[in-house]
Each structure stands twice: as C-alpha cells, then as structure tokens.
Symmetry: C4
Subunit: 259 residues, 4 copies
C-alpha cells in the first residue's frame, strides 16, 4: 500500500485555444436546471467546441442511459469559441456535481486554472434563486467577488443579494476564482424550485449578455420557456381545483404562491 493516492479530478485537455479577451461562463445541474439549461444553450447556439474534459472519482458512481440506448459516465466539459469581433467565450458544464466537498473544490480549481492560463480574468456562474412561487417575469439576482463586479451587475438591473449563501459549484467556482486572483459573479434566476425552468435560464442569459456584451439568440430557450409556462399553468389549475374542494382551514395553510 505504498502508491500515493491519485488526485480526485483528471483533466483531459483537447486543445489550449488561442483566446482574445476571454470570459468563463459556468452552469451546472442544480435547482430548476437553470444554470445547466443556460450553459447547454450557449454551447449549441454559439457553436462552441469542446477544449477539455474532466472526469472525477467524486462524481456519482453510475452511468446514465441516453435515448439512443448508449451510456455515459458523468463528466465535466469545457467549451470555447472566439467571436470574430468580440470576446472569446468559455463555457463549463457537467452532467452532475461531485459528491464531496473535496471533489467540488478540486473540480472548480482545475477549471479556473485552465481558464486563467488562457487569459480569463472574469468568471460568471449561472444559478437558481428559489422563491417557492411561480413568476411570469423572473427577476435576476446577483452577487460578486468584488465591489466592481457587484456594481457592473447592478447597472444592468440585477437585484443584489445582501445575505445568504450560494451553495455548490455555482457558488464555489467564483469563490475559487477569487482565491486564484480572478474576479467572479453569480447571476441567479428567480424560480419556484418545482420545475425545470427554461424561463429563468432565459432571464439570466439575457442579463449576462448585457453584462459581458455578448450577442445571444435565445429563441430556442423561449420555446422551452413557453413549455415550462404550460406546465406551470396546469399545476396552478390543479391547485385551484383542489383548493375549491378543500375546507377553508386547510386552504390557509397552503403556501402563498398559489394565492
């Protein structure tokens, strides 16, 4: 038993891109899949190319079966494209979040170091702000690692957080960015926490595009957001029906968001 223990995260670099004025945007699975949907939309709509893959012994020990019957182990993926006139865009996403604190720290650190080496100075993460109620025009909340970052969000209409915390990789990535000398900000889309919420993803991406000066086509997310809206309407209709049937005392115990 003398071999040293292996690192928790393995980085497989496909290509170190030649990036100009690059920014790193991260969205991982979490409540409402707000960040993950947003990141996946960036990858497909901006036609990004994969530049690095991350495997980790702290990802959940399982494989997922896809529609075509094939399986994949959980992986982290870093994508990139250089806009001809404009910024280079890195997007980091993953199939799952690591199962331990140590795994989350090491994965965050690996991604931030790669991005820093490529010239990134600012890291944005996209996440969910859970309210427990459904909103037709979700607000975008935000926080940052410096006053300058916080002000840049505020200027674009972001509601600044004043307390609380941001858990998991979407929070940790900007914390680790700060430890490595970069700046970071997190944009959180208001969501109920009950459904996969493409509307919240669309809201954070629209805000992000203003903050970092990036042109984005969100039409596909709009379609998905419309689907989300249908699901929500059905849930509300069901809630209304059962409320009518329920006696008054029970009705008052219902959470406010159905009111």
């Amino acid at each position: 038993m003398s071999k040293p223990k292996a690192a928790l995260v393995t980085e497989n670099v496909i290509e170190v891109p030649d990036a100009h004025d690059p920014v790193l945007i991260c969205g991982l699975p979490g409540s409402g899949y707000v960040g993950k949907l947003a990141a996946d939309h960036l990858v497909s709509s901006l036609d990004l190319k994969k530049v690095a893959e991350y495997s980790s012994s702290t990802f959940p020990p399982q494989v997922s079966v896809k529609e075509d019957g094939t399986v994949d182990p959980p992986r982290g993926e870093l994508y990139f494209a250089q806009a001809k006139e404009g910024r280079g865009v890195f997007v980091f996403t993953a199939d799952a979040q690591p199962t331990s604190s140590e795994g989350e720290y090491e994965l965050s650190d690996a991604v931030v170091r790669f991005a820093k080496k490529c010239g990134v100075t600012k890291v944005y993460t996209l996440a969910a702000y859970i309210t427990g109620s459904f909103s037709k025009s979700p607000k975008v909340f935000g926080s940052g690692t410096s006053k300058r970052m916080v002000e840049s969000l505020s200027e674009e209409g972001v509601t600044l957080m004043k307390d609380g915390g941001i858990s998991g990789m979407n929070g940790l990535l900007i914390g680790v960015a700060a430890l490595r000398g970069l700046e970071g900000a997190c944009l959180l889309g208001e969501t109920s926490g009950y459904v996969v919420d493409a509307g919240a993803s669309k809201a954070v991406l629209e805000t992000l595009s203003k903050v970092i000066g990036l042109r984005l086509d969100t039409s596909k997310l709009e379609e998905k957001a419309a689907e989300t809206q249908k699901v929500i309407s059905q849930l509300q209709a069901m809630a209304d029906q059962s409320r009518e049937a329920a006696p008054q005392s029970e009705r008052e115990q219902r959470p406010a968001y159905f009111g």
Copy 2:
C-alpha cells in the same frame, strides 16, 4: 504527518496471462445477487484460474465468516482461462462493493487497466433490472457505450434501455472502460429485487453466451433457479392466503406484482 496518503486500491498480480481475443465479464454483489451468481458460475463452470486480487481500504471494514468457521476480508478477484479454440475469458467479481465513490472509481480503473494490458477491448457487466414483480421467464435488458455495442445486444433479443441509469460498479465499470478507450455493455436480468435470483442470472448468461460466442453449461444455475422458483411460489401462496383474509380496501394497496 508527511508521508503521502496511500492509494485506495492495492492490486496483487498473480499472473499476467497470455490471452487471445479476450473479453472481460464482471458481476458484483447487488440486487438479487444476479451479477455475482452469474460471475461465480462462470468461474466454476469454465474452470477459471485466479490471476489477480484486489484489496481496498474502501471495502466495508469487516470480515465474513464462512461455513468452515474461517473468515475472509472483502476482496476483488480477477479470473482467467483461454479456451483452446475460441476466446480468452476474464471474469471479475468481489465480495462487496466499495463504500465510497472514490473506491468504486479506483477499483474499476485498476481492473479495466489490467484487462486492457492483456488485450481486452470489450467489457461486459451483469446486473439486475428490478421490476418489483416476479417473472417466470425473466427478460434481459441492456445498454452499451457505443451504438455498435447496443446493436450487438439488440440482435440477440436484448430489450434496450432508453433512459434511467445503472448505479454502482456494474454501471461504472463500463463507464470507466469507455474513458480508457474500450467498449462496454451491461446486461441486466429482470428480477423482483426481493430474493436472490438464480433465474435472472441464468437469463443474462444465456444472452451473454450468444452475444460473445461462448459455450456455457448453465445446468447448475438451472438447479438454483428451480430453488428460487420454489421460494417465490411459497411467497406467493402466503400472499394469496393473507389476501383472502384481508378486507378489500387493504387488498388494493398491495403492489401489483402479487395480482
């Protein structure tokens, strides 16, 4: 406290076999012991020889007492035999699954690397597909790491999975195989999840023998499967009796599989 931490898995190689056209088959303890029973049957019926042992500090910290009164710590074991005309067969099994994600990844990685070094290009794992109901002729479900693997299963009557996941080493081993450049497939025998199910083991082995072109004598498993069937019949008889005694309302709450 300056010594580096030891690796989680220790590999003790007994012999690196001279293998021709080898395949790796894995079955570990899990629901219904479907994979473990199948792997044990392969080891004894094909007269395989042990070629490597794996100990790990992530196996459950305990020893198991055997019928002869002696104890064994949990271990992983890799067996091999070269068919005179035909394929070399590696079988990996273990007394238990590791207790942490990291342990599962490292053990999977150690086994896959050894097999790859010996020329293995395809890894098959045998597992359980839990339905909650008893079936006299268990179906075999499957999934694979490539479309080619998935098709090879489909041709032999395997029902392809379209979603869900495969948890633990039986899923992870083919995921890690893919990360190491091999192909992998998992065959899952339909089982209730309530009893050790030799019938499901027999079903996955019969399918496996067709998929990889391996002659197998499953008569011993047939005996065990007949015992399983007796146990199931008794369980159903008991259920029928208590159902007759139970009032209607309770009866409807029973799960469908006794119906």
Copy 3:
C-alpha cells in the same frame, strides 16, 4: 490518474512575525458563536494584523454573501500583534469548521505548527458550554492538556470539567497542540445554545485576560451582550405569555429553563 492527491489544507503565509512570549488564542464558529465572537473581538480591539490564511477543500462548498453584496469563500485566518510591553498575541478564527474529521485535523495541525514555529508554547481555545437555560452571569468552564494548565485555570475561578468531551476544532486544537508538544486549555462560556451569546463571549474573554495576563477592553462586547439580553428577555416574555394561555398539561412539558 497518476497525480498524487493534494493536501486538504493550503496555508498562505503573509508574514512570519517576530514574536516575543507569544500565545495562540482560537475561537471558531460553534454553539452560540461564543468562540467566534470572542476571537473577532480580539482581532478588532487589539488591532491585530493578518499573518496567514488557510483555505481547505473540506470547508463547506459554498460562498457567503456579505452586506455589501460581495461574496467570500470560507477561510481560516491567523492574526498577530506584539504588545509593546507584554506578550505577542496570535488569534486564529475561521468562517466555518471543516466538514470532515480529516479536514479538522489537518487545519488544526497547520495552525499549531505555524504557531510553534513562531515560539508559541500555549494554545487557548474559546468555546461554548451548553446548558439549555439562560443565565445572567454566565460561568466559565475549563479543561487543559496538563495538570499545570488545569490548575492555572482553577486559580482564576474557572469551573473544571470532570468528564464529557469537547467536540470540533475548539477541542481538537488543544489535542493537536499536545500531540505537537505544546500545552493547551479550553475556556467554555456557559450559554443556552439558543441564541448568539455575546455575554458568554465576554465572560470567557475576561477569564482569559486574567489567565494569560492580557489587558482587554470588552466594552463593545458589553453592548452586544446587552442586545443579547434584550432578545432573551423578549423570548422569556413570549414564553410566559404562551404559558399562561396553555393548559396545565402542556405547561409541564416545557423545558425547565423557562420556569
């Protein structure tokens, strides 16, 4: 997967101070924030300077949002100042306690080794002694790593513990100090465990100042303690009211400390 696993704690030394007759005082977040409030008070009232920072992959994976809208990852911080005539004072505090045994041991070890290198021979930790009841003049309990330390506490009116244990970093730091050849003692302020308790912090600091011969201005803590007292009075008033309204049987189930 061949890179060795990184250490759980990273030490970032800002300055190795030139310390005379130094002592290390530690207070980390825990019940009633007794130790953390006391440590923070020492840092601000003695005008200490940060000499080292500790990050750890075992801190909770999250960032906390501050009042100005910016975020910080959890961190450990070591402060120092040299009194002109008197002792050097190191104070260690952190935003959170590590999430695993290993993290707690490694962080304790890193801090103790740094302090030892700077000439520290005695380590004091400040913690909470939970009684479940509110007290206007909280007692100070204590324990130490040697009879000499225990006697030095006893001489200043500390109530010596005779059994039980001290969990987490506030206990572990003096245990690790002993393993490294230093002496240690823990001062525990009596507290209910229900509120952030500046009164208990003030009590342990007043005792500490006598034990180590350190002049301290606790007026700011006195203000906070007065606020704590108001909160407690309100809680008790609410409890009295609801007790009057409650039937006798329920009243007897209330905990003794409201009686």
Copy 4:
C-alpha cells in the same frame, strides 16, 4: 494545492522491543466494551510498557475530559512485555475506532506491520457477541483466518461461528493480518449489548489464556463482573415489575431475554 495529501495514520514508535515468540492481542471499544476492558486489563495486570502510539485524522475530532480535568485526543496504543519464561505479549487498544473505512484499514495495517516486524505470527482480537439477552456464564464464540486457527479455538471449548460477520477493527485486524501473511483469530464474548460487560471480558480472557498458553490473574475483572451482575439484576427486577403492571398483549411483545 500541490503538496500530496498526508497519510491518515501517524505511527510514533517509542521502542522496537526485542521479542521472543510474541503474540499480538487487540481489544478496541465496541459493544459492551468487551474487547476494550479485556485489553486494558492485560495492560495493567501484565505490567506492559507502551512501545508505540498511533494518532489518526480519522479518529473522532474531539478531546475527552478525564477525571483530573485534563483532556486527551483519541489515540491508539501498542504495549509490550516479555515474560521471562514464555511468550512476548503485545496488546493494542485505542480510545475510539476511526470514523471511516479507510482509517480503519490504515490503522489495522500500521499495527499489523509493526507486530510482524517484531516477529509476531498470530493476531488475536477480543470482541463482543451480542445476543440481546443476559447470561450468567457467557459463552465464548470464535472464528479464525485458517482451519488450523479455528481448530485451536475449538479444542479450548470455543463455539465456532458458521456465518455472519465481524465488523470494525476487531474483525478487520485479523483480516489485514491474513493479507500480510499472518494468522488471526477473534474471540467473542457472549453479551447482551445493553451494558458494559466485564463478565464477557473475563470469559474471553480465560479462553485466550488457554489458547495461547498465558497465565492471567483475572481477579480484578471478577470484581467488575460482579458489579455488572448487580446492574443486570436491577434491570431485570425493574423489567419484572413493569411486566406485572403491563397487560398481557404488551407482555408478549417483550423480547425473549426477559422471559
């Protein structure tokens, strides 16, 4: 974050003793403190000297307060004495068991390796066999790593286990002994699992003394066993009383051991 992670266990060797025909006996805290009481009795009655100490970042992160008001971190301790005419005796015990599988494996491995280096070929662990009922003359159960070891127990009246497992360090130590080429056996004293049981400790020590040919004075344990017996009698009296008061239907739900 480039320093490799430290080992989980640190061994502090005080003296490598010159041992003749030595044997290693281990008893750690567990159910009924059977093994721990027995090990502590050996250390004091045979006047053993400490030869090594083990600290571990996987011990529970806390310190325990002793009767004299001082604290100790959890530690493992290895003791030794050479009988003038007879065998060398190593005894290993600890204040607690590690909190993770990995910690248990590494600690077991460190102790077994040290013992092997000193010429030990056989490892005995002392543990509890929980029955849920009180017995005035507790049986001793046993298991071993080889048929020879199992037979040597059987010859001295030990009831051989035929299935089940032995969890934790008391089981793992003989498993790891086998992995390192030594032989091992576990003696388990029958105990209820409800009280600290010196009677069971006495029973395993009397059997051990016959198995390894070691003269032992168990008079102090006899005193403690008498105290245990008093506590059990009181518990049974209380149970009898409450049984008389309870209606028949409830009485039948009581476990058999009060019958």
